[in-house]
């Protein structure tokens, strides 16, 4: 019964979505305030219905109702409760339901908190948001209904894919989706501005916080995904450049560019047309990502060919929204008024540089991700584009970008003094050079490039803090004054510094872990020892332990540093009988910012156990940096200007509308 109610709620959400897709536009055209206001209630109701639908599916999972096909395919009665819940989005149908839930949530947020938006703009935004939502409701109802019943209820489910039974996966997809789908608002605002043919700084003041919020979630979502892959896949890699990862990374790059160009638009009323285009492109990349992951085109061309409905449906949505968005852009964008002008060397110029490099870097990822698919579709040749390709293309572009990062916040608006800024960055240059020299001295010739990378990271870290140091008068003024000045600085200044610092922290982690990590792959018998980077592991033995829905084989290792025992590592292998699959549970030991990483291979016939052992120095910095970036975003989001500054521009645009 509950499944049918969930299904029905989704149908009602679609009906509301269709009303909301049309009524507000008619209202805005005719100047009918009541019709425009209708969108508020429909947006909130839509969210309520989708949330009900999602809750219904969750209840089916929690109750292990195997008469629902989706639950039967992806759940098992003996799974722990937490995985019964996360199974809801651990499969195609359920994850699409999560997708529309978040889409409806963002629509509802605009309806609830957008009271200071100009009425027509709000009406258009909600309408566009509803076009997207309706398209995806239709997609779910027609091709991916999670509420389908089986004629006869099986007594036991087929279990969730074991590699997905992991706490990391419990939170990774929702975070990622909030990020991905959050960019839909930027898209809706862009399309609304194009329909209205009018755009001003107030627009950017609205779009920026939403984009920032989405960006924060996407950042942490990508980092979580990377950490999950790192400890689940068993060989210690933290980024694989595989298409599924790239699918989330491309919107991140474009979204980062959008954040920065929206700053220019908000402060200087310039780069309007570019910002609109970027907003459309960012969400387009989210849609392309959804297509790549959800159409099955990546796992198997075969699956795509035998059951093309889903793929073709998403492709149609893709073409409709991307094509439609870009066409509207080409038609209407020339009508938008030009904004303020600026010299090439200026804060604006630096932000343009940022945009140029981020979008170009995004383009290289795009080519590397889609070229193999295009080539296979056109010629039948199959190629793999792996890490070397991305290191050679994305790498240099990102290095160039990072070099300029500290300059941006120090340059003045309109016309900057690059030599003056270079002088102020002297301390950062010095720190960078010292870091290069120190790294060369310590590493004894393992890599020529990596020390420069370390230097670059330290230079960016120092450079991002210089603005703060100067403006608070740290090291110059008494501490009490510094504290007062620090409290008086705009939060967005703090946010910029912290986020840039975070990028450098991640970069440092990536360089160190990739360059100076060590690896031992060896077969060991109990009581034998293996050593790596000054740590010694002795193999104590093997034990078997039953889990709730698996059997695990646990190996125990004692870790010593010198003579001192510093801990025990227990990597294991889990065998899930329901799918006759095994998963590898690596054991991790964090030492400072580095980690020992131990995972198991197969036991040999002679009783020896194959193991993979890694030492990854500084590896935790990769994810820590992402957390710091997100913190920077949060600081910027809490800026006073974004909280209380909004009503003023709204009044101004209302006046403009009255003119």
């Amino acid at each position: 019964m509950i499944a049918e109610l969930g299904h029905y709620a989704l149908v009602l959400a679609l009906a509301l979505g269709l009303i909301q897709a049309i009524a507000p536009i008619v209202g805005a055209r005719a100047g009918d305030a009541a019709l425009m206001r209708l969108a508020n209630s429909t947006a909130l109701m839509q969210f309520a219905f989708v949330a009900f639908s999602f809750a219904a599916l969750t209840i089916c999972y929690v109750n292990s109702d195997f008469s629902v096909a989706n639950v039967f395919e992806n759940s098992h009665s003996r799974m722990p409760l937490i995985y019964k819940i996360t199974s809801v989005w651990g499969n195609h149908e359920g994850s699409m339901l999560l997708w529309v839930l978040i889409l409806a949530l963002f629509g509802a947020l605009v309806a609830a908190f957008g009271s200071n938006l100009p009425a027509t703009l709000k009406a258009y935004v909600l309408a566009v948001q509803s076009w997207i939502a309706s398209a995806f409701y239709l997609f779910i109802l027609l091709t991916s209904n999670p509420f389908l019943r089986l004629d006869q209820a099986p007594s036991e489910g087929r279990d969730l894919n074991p590699i997905l039974q992991d706490p990391g996966l419990a939170i990774h997809p929702p975070l990622l989706y909030v990020g991905y789908v959050g960019f839909s608002l930027a898209f809706s605002f862009a399309i609304a501005a194009l329909i209205e043919g009018r755009i001003d700084a107030a627009w950017a003041r609205w779009v920026r916080p939403w984009t920032l919020a989405a960006w924060m979630f996407l950042t942490i979502g990508i980092a979580m995904g990377s950490y999950w892959a790192y400890y689940t896949l068993g060989w210690g890699g933290f980024w694989f450049w595989d298409p599924v990862e790239n699918a989330s990374f491309m919107p991140w790059l474009a979204g980062t560019a959008l954040l920065h160009s929206a700053v220019v638009m908000e402060k200087r009323n310039a780069l309007k047309i570019w910002t609109i285009l970027l907003a459309i492109l960012t969400f387009s990349l989210s849609l392309i990502g959804t297509f790549l992951v959800r159409s099955g085109v990546l796992t198997s061309v075969h699956a795509f060919a035998t059951d093309p409905t889903r793929g073709v449906f998403i492709l149609a949505i893709l073409i409709l929204f991307i094509g439609g968005g870009l066409t509207l852009f080409a038609w209407r964008a020339p009508m938008l008024k030009q904004g303020g002008i600026f010299a090439p060397i200026s804060r604006e110029g630096a932000l343009v540089f940022n945009n140029l490099f981020l979008t170009t870097a995004c383009l290289t990822v795009f080519v590397g991700t889609l070229y193999p698919l295009a080539l296979e579709a056109l010629t039948g040749d199959k190629i793999s584009v792996g890490a070397p390709f991305f290191n050679l293309t994305f790498g240099p572009l990102f290095v160039a970008l990072l070099f300029v990062v500290p300059f941006g916040p120090l340059l003045a608006w309109k016309r900057g003094d690059i030599l003056g800024v270079a002088q102020r960055l002297m301390a950062a240059f010095a720190i960078g050079i010292v870091a290069v020299a120190a790294t060369f001295a310590v590493e004894n010739g393992q890599s020529v490039l990596a020390p420069f990378g370390v230097g670059l990271a330290f230079y960016v870290m120092a450079g991002s803090l210089i603005d703060l140091v100067e403006r608070t008068g740290l090291f110059r003024l008494p501490l009490a004054t510094v504290r007062m000045r620090a409290a008086g600085l705009p939060r967005s200044t703090w946010g910029t510094a912290v986020a840039h610092f975070g990028v450098a922290v991640s970069m440092l982690g990536i360089i160190c872990a990739a360059t100076w990590g060590s690896e031992r792959i060896i077969a060991l018998k109990p009581t034998q020892t293996v050593s790596i980077s000054g740590y010694e592991l002795s193999f104590d033995g093997i034990a078997r332990r039953p889990g709730p829905n698996y059997e695990s084989l646990i190996a125990r290792f004692t870790v010593r540093h010198g003579a001192e025992v510093i801990g025990v590592m227990e990597p294991s292998k889990r065998t899930f009988s329901s799918r006759s699959m095994t998963t590898n549970e690596a054991a991790l030991m964090t030492i400072g910012a580095g980690q020992l990483y131990l995972s198991l291979g197969d036991p040999n016939d002679d009783g020896a156990l194959a193991i993979r052992l890694y030492y990854k120095p500084m590896v935790m910095l990769i994810w820590l940096g992402a957390v710091v970036m997100m913190l920077g975003g949060a600081l910027s989001l809490s800026d006073r200007r974004l909280r209380v500054g909004a009503p003023k521009p709204a009044a101004r645009s209302a006046m403009q509308a009255a003119e």
């Binding site: 499969n91 195609h92 894919n161 590699i163 997905l164 996966l169 990774h172 997809p173 995904g225 999950w228 892959a229 599924v244 992951v293 099955g296 796992t299 198997s300 061309v301 075969h302 699956a303 035998t306 030009q338 002008i341 010299a343 090439p344 343009v352 540089f353 140029l356 170009t360 870097a361 383009l363 290289t364 080519v367 590397g368 070229y371 040749d381 199959k382 190629i383 793999s384 584009v385 792996g386 070397p388 390709f389 050679l392 293309t393 572009l397 792959i521 077969a523 292998k573 799918r579 699959m581 095994t582 998963t583 590898n584 291979g601 197969d602 040999n604 016939d605 194959a610 193991i611 993979r612």
Partner: protein, 154 residues
């Protein structure tokens, strides 16, 4: 500078960056892209020794020999042709005789394939798509095997 000149500077710089990116992409395409082949293709097309390849097929039943130092010898087959291969390291959990495998590495002069990475299918329901294609080409693919691909969503 006038607005027009400024715009020219902007467009000029953008084109330069794009040109650099295009150059990077093209040079990386030449050096770091690996072609996928089936065992039959390797023999029929006389792939030159030393070329980097990805070969997909099944691990030939009865061919796996484990040696010292985690050495593994096996043969990749698409039912028509077998390619002997060797690998040092830990093979994936689902590397088994008669199951799908994708090996990446270099062809040695004697026709043996020195693999430096070995991928196996992720779970019972999923077959690497290269393997499916290779098997289909050699006519060994039965439609009954084409169960729904497992959703390794993340």
């Amino acid at each position: 500078m006038t607005r027009k000149q400024r715009r020219l500077v902007l467009i000029g710089t953008s084109l330069c960056v794009l040109a650099v990116a295009a150059g990077l992409i093209l040079s990386a395409m030449r050096d770091s892209i690996v072609f996928f082949t089936s065992p039959t293709d390797v023999v029929e097309k006389h792939s030159p020794p030393g070329a980097r390849l990805r070969i997909g097929g099944l691990v030939k039943p009865g061919s796996v020999v484990r040696g010292d130092n985690l050495q593994v010898r096996f043969a990749i087959t698409d039912g028509k042709t077998d390619i002997p291969a060797h690998y040092q390291g830990i093979v994936p959990d689902l590397f088994r005789e008669g199951q799908g495998v994708v090996a990446e590495g270099k062809l040695e002069p004697g026709g043996t394939f020195a693999a430096d990475s070995v991928l196996a299918k992720h779970d019972e329901r999923y077959m690497p798509r290269e393997v499916v294609d290779a098997l289909k080409k050699s006519g060994r693919w039965e439609e009954s095997e084409s169960r729904r691909p497992g959703g390794t969503s993340r």
